[in-house]
């Protein structure tokens, strides 16, 4: 196989890896938007807290159960991070957004920016402003698949992300809570009439979205090896772009949007210029909004007059 094709496949793989993480975060944006019509700007910070929780879990595992196999540490850190972030998500919803349910949309939006600042600074005060290094718990083995070499952590990111996306699709389609979520997103008043409690469903949405972001954060931390309290900002912004790109409010849209954004960015940075990496992401968003304002998979909902 030629070197050029080899490089292309590697770049594609790099793009897909980060795209999976974007997709996991984008799901939270899109679900919350679907249910209450709020762009939750604190969601990027939940992702960052997820990464810090993963680090904490590694510390805990190392001090309480030294020498356990890495698979168990991995399982523990993902569950720990998901649990912690879910509680955080539920708290944010309860404390910051629920009292504003009947206020104008803008109020909740600005509140979400406030929550984002609060979380960033809280993490900075707790863990310090320096970069934290993540111990290498996943072995650095590389597998050769044809001409491309994939690292174990990349395989992990793929399998966990794709697994979670299938789970989420099943959950929303088939479970009672999932059906209720779709009902609330369709028409909250009508949902209430048939006996669905919107508050409970909204809390469930926040919990689910935060747990997914936490998985994204854990995988992100393991892959890059260092985390910082301001990591949520850029990752959140990219994931938000992915959600809008895919069609905000649409779950498959967020998945496709995240993955495509990662690939687009990766190829742009690899072949054109890494200086312009962020520009590619936002250019893509601009182009999509120009030609298909509802995103690639969004529904065209006409504004009620």
């Amino acid at each position: 196989m030629s070197a050029a094709l080899n490089l292309f496949l590697n770049q594609l793989l790099n793009g897909l890896t980060i795209g999976m993480v974007y997709a996991l975060i984008a799901l939270g944006y899109t679900m919350v938007y679907g249910v209450i019509g709020l762009i939750n700007f604190a969601h990027g910070e939940v992702f960052m807290v997820g990464a810090y929780l993963a680090l904490t879990a590694i510390w805990l595992a190392a001090s309480f159960f030294p020498g356990i196999p890495f698979g168990l540490t991995l399982l523990f850190l993902i569950l720990f991070s998901m649990a912690g972030a879910s509680i955080l998500g539920a708290l944010i919803e309860k404390i910051a957004y629920r009292p504003l349910r009947r206020s104008p949309k803008l109020t909740a939006l600005i509140t979400s920016i406030g929550v984002s600042f609060f979380l960033q600074n809280a993490v900075m005060l707790i863990y310090g402003s320096k970069e934290q290094s993540i111990p290498d718990i996943v072995p650095m083995t590389r597998l050769k698949i044809g001409a491309i070499s994939v690292s174990l952590i990349q395989i992990l990111i793929f399998s966990v992300s794709i697994g979670l996306m299938f789970f989420l699709t099943w959950f929303v389609k088939n479970t009672k809570t999932g059906k209720a979520m779709r009902a609330v997103s369709e028409n909250p008043e009508a949902a209430q009439l048939v006996g669905i409690s919107p508050n409970r469903i909204i809390a469930a949405t926040f919990i689910l979205g935060s747990a997914l972001a936490a998985v994204g954060g854990s995988l992100f931390a393991l892959n890059y090896g260092s985390i910082n309290f301001h990591d949520g900002y850029l990752a959140g912004l990219k994931a938000f772009t992915a959600a809008v790109f895919g069609g905000i409010g649409s779950i498959p849209g967020a998945m496709v949007g995240g993955i495509l954004l990662g690939v687009f960015e990766g190829l742009g940075a690899g072949y054109i210029s890494s200086e312009w990496k962020d520009v590619f992401a936002f250019l893509l968003l601009g182009a999509v909004l120009l030609f298909k304002p509802s995103g690639i998979m969004g529904n065209n909902v006409s504004e009620k007059v």
């Binding site: 590697n10 770049q11 402003s129 970069e131 090896g225 990496k277 962020d278």
Partner: protein
């Protein structure tokens, strides 16, 4: 005694003691550095050095007449906007006769305009961008080597000592990073080397795999990075994981033990870095300061000795001026000849840069930066 009476007594005693203090005149020196934000710990190290210089001067006795020296520390958060605000704050304080700072070139440059307008002397202990001293400000002084010294020294070391021919360059698009990388590129080409690529990255970004895959396909023997350690750590780590076989080198911005911690010592081994001056531990004149510093604050930071040195130059100028007058202090710094600093003799050229300042080349071994050799301009 009633509560009110107790409070009254407490308050009046405060004023009583203040009255005594006031009889001694105070004169202030400013110091600006990032004390919060991502580079806070470097700025704090620099500030501690400056603090010790002020204390040392006060121990020796009044700088002139019956004055006590006090330090006005301001925090620029490594943020240019904040740096300008803080510079204006220092200018507005009539007690402040001179300032040392800032740390980041991107802060020092805009702030230098403010100090120039306020006719206040500014000595930077650490900003290495050569452009700053070329603005024609007579109020600007620098006691460290510039990137005009640092980057060519690094390029010569790479070409001659390491014998590499093909390199790739990455910078972080900041005043500091671009300046360093550009001078390095020019010098390396002048030495007959080939620069395969020169790319930029964004500070705060994490995923450099696409760029590194491209760099890997070009096959450089060495990658030079103009930037600071958090991005360097990510670059090296991701490069090693994808199997990019190349040496790594950077400037003073990557010279921090956190770099080694983030990459992990085995993977970090073999990274080269240039650092302003030689290790203060190896200079006999600096031994006293280093010992006292480490006894008080723990391990000496990369720029602590520079903070101490810059503040000492400023205090010496105030001593010679003998009055609370910015213009007089400025004139004294300009007139200073062969000042015996702890890091070497200081003479300023017409741009305000210290003459003959060298850089040291270091290599990471066993989780530490090990001093290899000194390189002059």
């Amino acid at each position: 005694m009633s509560k009110k009476a107790v409070f009254f007594l407490l308050f009046s005693s405060v004023f009583f003691f203040c009255g005594f203090e006031d009889k001694k005149e105070t004169i202030s020196v400013g110091a600006a550095a990032p004390l919060t934000g991502p580079q806070a710990y470097i700025g704090i190290g620099m500030m501690q050095g400056a603090q010790m210089a002020v204390e040392d001067a006060n121990v020796k006795g009044p700088v002139f007449g019956n004055t006590k020296l006090s330090l006005v520390a301001v925090d620029d958060q490594s943020n240019p906007t904040q740096a300008v605000l803080m510079a204006n704050k220092l200018i507005a304080d009539p007690q402040v006769v001179g300032v040392i700072g800032h740390f980041n070139s991107s802060c020092t440059k805009p702030a230098s305009t403010i100090y120039h307008e306020g006719r206040m002397a500014q000595i930077t202990p650490a900003s290495t961008n050569p452009e700053i001293s070329r603005q024609g400000f007579d109020t600007f002084f620098r006691i460290c080597a510039t990137d005009d010294v640092q980057a060519p020294a690094a390029a010569r070391f790479a070409a001659k000592e390491l014998g590499v021919k093909k390199i790739a360059i990455i910078d972080d698009k900041t005043t500091y990073g671009v300046g360093l990388a550009t001078v390095f590129e020019k010098e390396f080409k002048a030495l007959g080397g080939t620069v395969l690529s020169h790319d930029g990255i964004t500070q705060g970004e994490k995923d450099f795999a696409p760029l590194l895959a491209k760099v890997q396909s070009l096959g450089p023997e060495l990658v030079y990075f103009g930037g600071v350690y958090p991005e360097m750590a990510l670059l090296v780590r991701q490069a090693k994981k994808m199997g990019l076989e190349a040496l790594w080198m950077g400037g003073d911005g990557i010279f921090d033990v956190t770099l080694i911690k983030l990459i992990t010592p085995p993977l970090a081994t073999g990274i080269y870095a240039t650092m302003l001056g030689v290790d203060p531990h190896s200079i006999p004149e600096a031994r006293d300061f280093v010992t006292r510093y480490e006894a008080r604050y723990g391990e000496i930071g990369s720029f602590s000795a520079y903070g101490y040195e810059a503040m000492n130059v400023l205090i010496e100028a105030i001593r010679r001026a003998g009055k609370n007058d910015r213009q007089a202090v400025l004139a004294q710094i300009k007139a200073m000849k062969d000042y015996p600093g702890i890091l070497g003799v200081i003479n300023f050229d017409k741009n305000g840069d210290a003459i003959g300042k060298s850089v040291g080349v270091y290599k990471v071994e066993d989780g530490k930066f090990v001093f290899l050799q000194e390189a002059k301009a």
